[in-house]
């Protein structure tokens, strides 16, 4: 199975990479650029914030390091705790990116866990879909809510595997599996991956992709970890497509018994 025949389709656009990356927490824009490059990601999230007024006008710009001609820029609503703030952020992002309408919706419920506020997320998703946004939505690992977000018209549903930035790995693989089995839109694990094996596990469950930031940016060597994540996502995807062997409690010899001379 080569990449050209196994593409990730989001809102009618095909991508060869199933790894999406965030652009936060890097040391500088050179590291952001190098790690993003090494990850092979084609979709990269950004945050929308106030411009620094009166600062160095030649200060480097994130979108120079990650040009929208090269990457699909996915503006997020990180930091939004209300429906209103999330919708407002998406509208500003669309203006910023000249009408680009793919957004990552997250409405947070609490600073300690950064778990989503589900009622506000559902409300914001309805408003944004009606306003012609293509919404990729961060949610918890609840299969019922995932289905509801799909029904609203979100183009991808992105359950957390563990709290944002926690690196705790896939805490509830059975829920992720149920979400994947129910879905007719791409399911991407968003948040919680800590290292390459976590990414492989998510992909082996049948997830369509993974969105991660801290697992790469907070590694000792972010560029090397980005490369590891790229391979883990590819390996996990191939293992899922190949179909794993059944688990057995006892041994099964790999070498034949016939023809032994002892």
């Amino acid at each position: 199975m080569t990449n050209t025949t196994d593409q990730l389709i989001i809102a009618d656009k095909a991508y060869n990479s199933r790894l999406l990356t965030g652009s936060g927490k890097y040391k500088d824009l050179d590291e952001t650029r190098a790690a993003t490059e090494a990850s092979g990601a084609e979709i990269v999230t950004v945050a929308i914030r106030r411009t620094n007024i009166g600062q160095n006008p030649d200060e480097p710009n994130l979108l120079d390091a990650l040009p929208p001609e090269k990457y699909t820029i996915l503006p997020n609503t990180a930091g939004c705790y209300t429906t209103e703030d999330a919708v407002r952020t998406c509208r500003l992002a669309r203006e910023l990116l000249d009408g680009h309408d793919l957004v990552k919706l997250e409405v947070l419920g609490d600073e300690k866990t950064l778990f989503p506020d589900i009622t506000a997320t559902l409300e914001a998703a309805e408003i944004l879909v009606k306003d012609n946004f293509k919404v990729m939505v961060y949610t918890n690992d609840d299969p019922i809510i995932a289905r509801r977000l799909e029904e609203i018209g979100c183009v991808a549903v992105m359950p957390l595997a563990a709290p944002i930035g926690s690196g705790l790995g896939i805490r509830n693989p059975y829920n992720i599996l149920t979400i994947v089995e129910n879905a007719n839109v791409p399911i991407l694990v968003d948040a919680g991956v800590g290292t390459a094996s976590d990414a492989a596990i998510a992909m082996e469950l049948g997830c369509d992709g993974i969105l991660m930031n801290t697992a790469i940016a907070a590694a000792q060597n972010p560029v090397l970890m980005a490369s590891a994540m790229k391979k883990a996502v590819e390996a996990g995807r191939e293992a899922f497509l190949a179909g794993r062997m059944p688990r057995k409690r006892f041994a099964s010899a790999s070498s034949p018994i016939d023809g032994t001379f002892f």
Partner: protein, 66 residues
């Protein structure tokens, strides 16, 4: 006249256009989005939009985030 610019009070000349403010702030070559009183002012309107006293202006851009 006084306006609010990214949360800070700022004194501006009466009748100033939004595009003139952007030039004054050295932001004309930047990729940004602008909201005034919580309404987006599209790029195509920047040259026409006349800033009024007490306008709440928000100028935003993209930064690193996950």
């Amino acid at each position: 006249m006084l306006v609010s610019l990214n949360g800070e009070q700022k004194e501006l000349a009466e009748g100033i256009k939004l595009s003139e403010l952007i030039d004054m702030l050295d932001l004309s070559h930047r990729r940004l989005a602008i909201e005034i009183n919580q309404e987006i002012v599209p790029k195509s309107q920047h040259a026409k939009y006349e800033i009024k006293p007490n306008d709440k202006i928000e100028i935003v851009h993209a930064i690193g985030g996950g």
